[in-house]
């Protein structure tokens, strides 16, 4: 498997170079304990009750040469979950060698790449697969093996990515909450491409900033990161389960931000073909910051974003079809970096709503305490959120950072 080969190469490279590189190493990372509390008992057979404990370890080992031209990063990730075997997993988030030239760079290995500007949906962020067992918010990503070349020129930055092999999306197991009514069986994954998970995918991105504008455009040709979930007869017991089916897609998209005064205006849009019909999707909105509110040190950011997604129901499901997100981000600007984000994502079609709250604060110098809450309100019985209706939850996470 290509992914493993890339790993072995990076590992060997590190081993060979280690003795030569006595200086320039640094180690950081975090070790965390987490508890999820679900407000309601499960409605599906086999699901965990109301408490889900887990732990995670995410160290990051880095080396760079004195002139900063050569860089190596090794960043594994381990989650151990007391209830859901599928959520207990290991991933190499990053493991790469990078050469930084005068106006270009070359990266080889496993990396994470973020594209985009909006807050409530990461529409154009297509390079890395979502690590869905971590969270629903599409912000946890699996490491992607790649060769990346970037050039910084007067007309902006060009990045060419050869994506060496495919990472499958993770899904909660039978015991997990926050999952579709049927279990996703990743052992039966089907690919449109005959090369399956060995397929080489390609991505090209241009990005630039001009005065108040930050602009980006991309093209992607390869296996869709989002699978269709196709019902099929269970292999083990009588019943039905879901089989992930990954199409080959072509996608072009743009992301842009206009920054003026306390206002950030943002938009992302894409067109994708490869499922049944070609479709477009857009997210656009603003963030306005109110500084030092009430004479305090705190800043309050007000967020509003509108979603549209034109895909058909037979295509990979999304909850952002015709939605509206609004929220506020409060940063206390204190010595403990306390911040709170609260918001609501409302389906403009059927009124189904997700309420979310995220708060974080540093304790002392090395600990952080995070609190998250999600509630699903007025869920339409046949809507995108139907499966999550009884999965209101609170998450508490204590991390030791080193």
């Amino acid at each position: 498997m290509r992914f493993r080969r890339a790993l072995v190469l990076v590992g060997l490279g590190l081993l060979v170079s280690c003795p030569l590189l006595a200086d320039g190493w640094s180690l950081s990372g975090s070790l965390a304990a987490e508890v999820r509390w679900f407000a309601n008992s499960p409605v599906l057979d086999g699901q965990l009750e109301t408490v889900q404990g887990s732990g995670l370890f995410a160290p990051e080992l880095r080396w760079r040469s004195e002139d900063r031209r050569h860089q190596i990063t090794l960043s594994p990730f381990v989650r151990w979950d007391a209830e859901d075997d599928e959520r207990t997993h290991f991933d190499l988030r990053e493991g790469y060698y990078r050469y930084v030239g005068d106006e270009w760079e070359l990266l080889f290995g496993v990396d994470r790449v973020f594209w985009g500007v909006t807050e409530s949906r990461h529409l154009v962020d297509i390079v890395n697969q979502t690590d869905l067992v971590e969270d629903l918010d599409d912000e946890d990503k699996l490491g992607q093996p790649m060769v990346k070349v970037g050039w910084d020129r007067g007309f902006g930055r060009i990045e060419l990515l050869a994506l060496l092999g495919f990472r499958e999306r993770t899904f909660p197991g039978p015991a997990g909450r926050l999952r579709p009514p049927l279990v996703v069986d990743r052992d039966r994954t089907v690919y449109e491409s005959a090369a399956g998970e060995e397929r080489l995918d390609l991505a090209l991105r241009w990005s630039h900033y001009l005065g108040d504008w930050d602009l980006g455009a991309h093209a992607f040709h390869g296996t869709s990161r989002e699978p269709r979930l196709v019902p099929a007869a269970s292999r083990a017991d009588p019943g039905v389960e879901l089989v992930p089916y990954y199409d080959v897609i072509n996608q072009v998209g743009v992301d842009l931000q206009f920054t003026r005064g306390a206002w950030l205006w943002k938009a992302e849009a894409l067109v994708r073909e490869g499922y049944d019909d070609t479709f477009g999707a857009v997210v656009a909105g603003f963030e306005r910051t109110l500084y030092q509110i009430g004479g305090s040190s705190a800043d309050l950011g007000l967020l509003l974003e509108l979603h549209y997604d034109g895909r058909e129901e037979t295509e990979p499901p999304t909850i952002y079809d015709r939605d509206l997100f609004f929220g506020g981000r409060l940063a206390l600007n204190d010595s403990q970096d306390t911040s709170i984000l609260a918001g609501a994502l409302v389906d403009r079609g059927d009124g189904s709503t997700v309420l979310l709250l995220e708060a974080t604060r540093r304790l002392g110098q090395q600990f952080t305490l995070e609190f998250e809450g999600r509630s699903f309100l007025d869920v339409a019985p046949a809507g995108d959120l139907a499966a999550l209706e009884d999965d209101d939850l609170l998450v508490l996470r204590l991390s030791w950072n080193f």
């Binding site: 005068d102 600007n333 010595s335």
Partner: protein, 269 residues
């Protein structure tokens, strides 16, 4: 090339000094005198091309409880005084913000262009910088307090001459020209021996004294540049204070424009 420009700069500087000397003979308004003092102070530090320095920030609350941050600051000087310098701040500690980086392309009378890098998401965000007067990472320093020291960001007025520690200082009032500045005015004490700023008082939008900054442990580097290595800011309203303790500066590093572009944020640490 660099040597020539240094010689030229030195010549220019001598000329300016000579002219300011001559000028003071003629009748000089307080505004002209204030500007001349500020210009002499500012220009004595120019020509460094680029610099790199590590620092520790010690935040103290009213009860004296301390929190620390360590960070590095890289600066690329813009020889044109009508355009600001480029700077890159990378946080090292506390560990949860390790690798967080802030890139600024300073402008003189407008908001700077700023990008923030969040390592957890590997995301670069263009951020609004219109407000430079809020607390920088929870400290008593506002962003404008340690980056906005460009000459053309203020208008000046000489107030008086008085003793300041071991020196004799000119007290110069400076008024921010940036409309969103958090201050109505600042009083700066510039010594008459090596022309460095020794103290600054910051007056808030209501005109009352908000903070006092004391700069000491000055050292002169090769090339003649002076740098303070201890900046102590006291907030008179909140009772909190922040010390900024600089390590040794490196000048004329191999930093170039490509270290101050958006995509450099990710590989900055």
């Amino acid at each position: 090339m660099r040597k020539t420009s240094f010689v030229l700069r030195s010549l220019c500087l001598s000329l300016i000094l000579l002219l300011t000397g001559l000028e003071s003979v003629a009748a000089e308004t307080p505004e002209e005198k204030g500007y001349a003092i500020a210009a002499r102070s500012d220009r004595s530090d120019r020509g460094f091309t680029s610099s790199s320095v590590g620092m520790t920030m010690v935040l103290r609350n009213k009860a004296g409880k301390e929190a620390r941050r360590t960070l590095s600051l890289r600066t690329l000087e813009n020889p044109d005084e009508s355009v600001g310098d480029k700077s890159l701040i990378v946080f090292d500690d506390p560990a949860d913000i390790e690798g967080t980086a802030l890139l600024s392309h300073a402008r003189i009378l407008e908001a700077d262009d700023q990008w923030l890098y969040l390592p957890a998401l590997k995301r670069v965000k263009r951020i609004s910088s219109v407000n430079k007067s809020g607390p920088f990472v929870g400290s008593e320093f506002a962003f404008e307090d340690f980056t906005a020291l460009e000459l053309e960001k203020f208008t000046y007025r000489w107030v008086r001459e008085e003793a300041c520690g071991e020196f004799v200082c000119d007290v110069v009032e400076r008024t921010p020209r940036y409309e969103h500045s958090g201050y109505t005015r600042q009083l700066s004490w510039v010594d008459q021996s090596v022309f460095q700023v020794r103290q600054v008082e910051f007056y808030d939008r209501k005109g009352s004294l908000l903070k006092t900054l004391t700069l000491d442990e000055y050292r002169q580097y090769d090339g003649g540049y002076w740098r303070a290595h201890r900046l102590a800011m006291v907030n008179h309203v909140s009772g909190k204070s922040t010390d900024l303790l600089y390590d040794t500066f490196e000048f004329g590093t191999d930093l170039s424009e490509s270290d101050f572009v958006k995509s450099a944020l990710e590989r900055a640490r």
